[in-house]
Amino acid sequence: MKNIYNITKPIGILGIGSFGTVLANLIAERHSVVMYARKQSTVDNINVHKKHRDIEILPNVTATTDLGLVASQCDVIFPVLPSYAFRSVIKDLSHFLTSNHILIHGAKGFDVKVDYSQGPVELRPRDICTMSEVILEETPVYRVGCISGPNLAKEIAQKQPAGTVLASKFKEVLAIGTEILQCERFQIYGSNDIKGIELAGVFKNYIAIAAGASAALGYGENVKALLITKGISEMIAIGKALGVEPKSFLGLAGIGDLVATCSSPLSRNYSVGYRLAKGESIEQIISTMTEAAEGINTVKVIKYLSDTMHIQAPLVGIIYKVMYENHSLESGIKMLMRLNAGQDVSFY
């Protein structure tokens, strides 16, 4: 289909993490970009030194600490924020948003309305929001989309080819998002199942932690393959409980992202698992990470959700035990092997 949209206004990016930064550069090849950062020093780095996180910033990327400026200059904004900061930034932004805006987020976590930091709680689907649902709750914007897929920031920064899924209920958002993002080395696949694509991006994080741990223990490809395929089954089972069809988990944002993050030390969640297996505590790991590994919280959320909803999710149970109940990794692997395996494919 010929793309009828020609976007001339600058594109907004909220978030200055590694993915936000490479996304800004990618878009800046054909559009001007306005980035939002909280700290003036970051803004100066981007505007003056044209460098951030060791990545060269293209000339037509500018940064600002003024959310209102982003909203007034840009009709299309990409919030690429960690999930814990997502709602508050979107809330601040909402004062400046109008019916003209389109938001396409790149966050891979949950917003949970119940405090679960103090230990196990009952979690139901209604307590959990995906990021697009946060946008719909907090802003007057209806045209919402998300991008998710195997997009390791470092590889994109090295100008290697990659593909991603752009999901939205609105074909208009898909067309506009594609117009903005697509280039010779970035392929965009469309989906109208935004919640499915969001959940695929969230769920895969805890499987990546398990994959990192198994690699650190010296296990090979057999275990990795077991984790990926059984991980997909589990993701589909939990997804079904949240009202999502299996198909999105079988695409680029599901299997695709899982294969990438379960194989690459570049993935933050993978490295969490790796370091855990090497004997570091979860607190130590968190304190030394420069960017959030979403999987650390996702494990808790999915564990509490699957317990409340009585969903069979053995993998997340094992990872939870290792991360938060001082079980050894070896005993975790033993538990995995002692599970009543049952049928191979049972999610259809």
Binding site: Y5, T8, S99, E138, T139, P140, Y142, R143, E172
Partner: protein, 560 residues
């Protein structure tokens, strides 16, 4: 917002009928239909871009129409129906024989398309005769009530009695000032719940009571063609829908007709539930086809700087429903299939309406018509200036929803997503403006307790229980009523539901007695009753289930 209860009819916002949208539409009927047909022809050039595609659509229309003409004839069908479609067939065959799919032959097909569309258009088009409307407004309710009310011994007195006395039985609530204000600033689209065939006349009466000009709405062509009321319907702005016809051209014409009537500032009415609610539950899944025409109309109005469109949800509550038996039968047949054996019987529409009004005035009961908060086309609330209110409480412009970089882009798929959003807001409004009456409340408490007593039985097995197993003890019933009334009052405080006066103010005993009395009014069997020991039972569990459905969706069952 100030919710009021109407005590006397309000003056028309727009007293001169010559300024009414529906009158102007009738007056310029031919020009309007030309515009409708031309727009569809224009659209067909994108929908059916090749001559072949257009031919296939015409052939498929012919095929479906010929089946209809031969297998399902109605009295309302025009006499030349068969000849018309035979003629179309002749032209289609002639074209096919020529076997030319060149683009320059498209004109021949477009002429044929036009011919079919005009036939449909003149069949559908609404008529509006102000004199008949005036007559209907002034005398129809009085005459109807007069003839139906055997309790009255002085017909003359009644005939000239003030209309205000009717408003004790027909309770109309809403923010009338806001609604009247908005009707000056924009085009009103009324979207009522649909439970009974008496809904249409009742809504018409409620709208004129608050001073709104008459609306155009779709009525089944079978009603218009065959019923004694047809003369009235035919001249009061109803456009005619033929439910047998499902072909794409007909549906497109209907949608364009509705859309362009709204664009021409004709207030309109859709029942977004599609048909009457068979289960007795409030509509929670809407048919979005016709509703989407309002969203499309708003997009066109923005392009041409015309009026804003306001959607007005409306909930109609009856203590009982005269059609309940046939409605619930149809529902149970649909969901139960072989598990349910139906014994359906339905009166003719006119007979039902007469019987309804007759009983209404014999019994001590009421009808509540509640206007919800007016919404814009995406379901945002609206202030008295007609400005949409954003979730953060500030007025904002919704035009941007149709724009990309400040330019309006036509996009049906996007607009359909907006229609879904509007639909869900309408459903919320239905639940919030629903007025709980004693009959559904009694049925709800009884049926849920019966169901809990027989946890392991299916719905259909519960309906077949012998009498002694249908008992709910009086104590349980009273306790259940008390619990649910407390929960309902909590919901009412949060503006999540309305309660009838008697539930708000009277004792549980009275509420129970009132509910049991009115629920069985029209049935030979007692739907919910107290047996000789004072325990609660039912002679027709189907109907208890039907009335109980009205309170589904508030999650009240978990408290019983």
């Amino acid at each position: 917002m100030a919710i009021q209860k109407l005590t006397a009819p309000l003056d028309y916002v727009n007293p001169n009928y010559e300024n009414w949208g529906i009158y102007k539409l009738d007056k310029n009927k031919d020009a309007f239909l030309i515009e409708v047909v031309e727009r569809i022809i224009e659209k067909s050039r994108t929908t059916y871009p090749t001559t072949r595609a257009l031919f296939d659509e015409l052939a498929s229309t012919l095929y479906q129409e010929r089946i209809r003409v031969t297998t399902s004839r109605w009295k309302s069908d025009p006499e030349d129906e068969k000849d018309f479609w035979n003629n179309v067939k002749g032209q289609i065959i002639k074209f096919q024989k020529a076997q030319s799919w060149e683009d320059n032959d498209r004109a021949i097909l477009e002429t044929l398309l036009k011919k079919i569309l005009y036939r449909y258009a003149y069949e559908i088009v609404a008529n509006f005769k102000p004199r008949i409307f005036e007559l209907a407004q002034k005398f129809l309710p009085r005459i109807l009530f007069l003839f139906l009310n055997s309790k009255l011994n002085s017909p003359f007195k009644f005939l000239f009695r003030k209309m205000s006395s009717f408003y004790e039985k027909f309770i109309i609530t809403g923010d009338f000032e806001l609604i009247r204000n908005l009707s000056k600033k924009g085009t009103i689209v009324v979207v009522p719940t649909h439970f009974s065939n008496t809904d249409s006349p009742l809504v018409g009466w409620a709208l004129s009571s608050i001073g709104l000009e008459p609306v155009t709405y779709g009525a089944g062509i079978n009603l218009v063609g065959t019923q004694p009321l047809s003369f009235m319907l035919n001249n009061l702005g109803a456009y005619k829908l033929d439910r047998r016809r499902k072909n794409a051209l007909y549906l497109e014409l209907l949608k364009s007709y509705s859309q362009m009537a709204i664009e021409r500032d004709t207030p309109s009415l859709f029942f977004p539930g599609g048909t009457r609610s068979r289960s007795g539950a409030l509509e929670s899944k809407l048919k979005l086809g016709l509703l989407s025409t309002a969203v499309e109309a708003q997009q066109e109005n923005f392009i041409h700087n015309r009026k804003k469109i306001f959607v007005l949800p409306l909930v109609i509550n009856y203590q009982y429903n005269i059609e309940c038996s046939s409605l619930i039968n149809q529902h149970l047949v649909e969901i139960g299939k072989e598990k349910y054996v139906s014994d359906s019987f339905e009166y003719s529409t006119t007979y039902k309406i007469i019987r309804f009004f007759k009983h209404l005035f014999h019994a001590d009961t009421e009808v509540v018509v509640s206007f919800g908060k007016p919404l814009d086309i995406i379901g945002n609330e609206v202030n008295s200036n007609g400005d949409s209110i954003a979730p953060n409480g500030k007025p904002f412009d919704i035009k941007g929803y149709f724009e990309v970089e400040n330019k309006i882009v036509r996009d049906e798929q996007r607009n359909f997503e907006y229609t879904k959003i509007l639909g869900s807001k309408i459903v919320s409004s239905y639940f919030e403006n629903n007025t709980v009456m004693t009959a559904p409340l009694v049925a709800f408490v009884y049926f849920i307790q019966l169901k809990k007593r027989h946890k392991h039985l299916s719905l259909f097995e519960i309906m077949l229980l012998p009498r002694e197993d249908r008992i709910v003890s009086r104590d349980n019933m009273m306790a259940g009523m008390a619990t649910i009334i407390v929960k309902l009052k909590d919901l009412e405080k949060l503006n999540k539901v309305n309660l009838s006066e008697i539930i708000k103010e009277s004792t549980i005993d009275n509420v129970l007695a009132n509910g049991m009395n009115s629920i069985s009014l029209f049935n030979s069997k007692k739907v919910v009753y107290a047996d000789s020991d004072g325990n609660i039972n039912s002679q027709d569990v189907r109907l208890a289930y039907f009335y109980h459905n009205r309170l589904i969706g508030y999650n009240l069952e978990e408290y019983l």
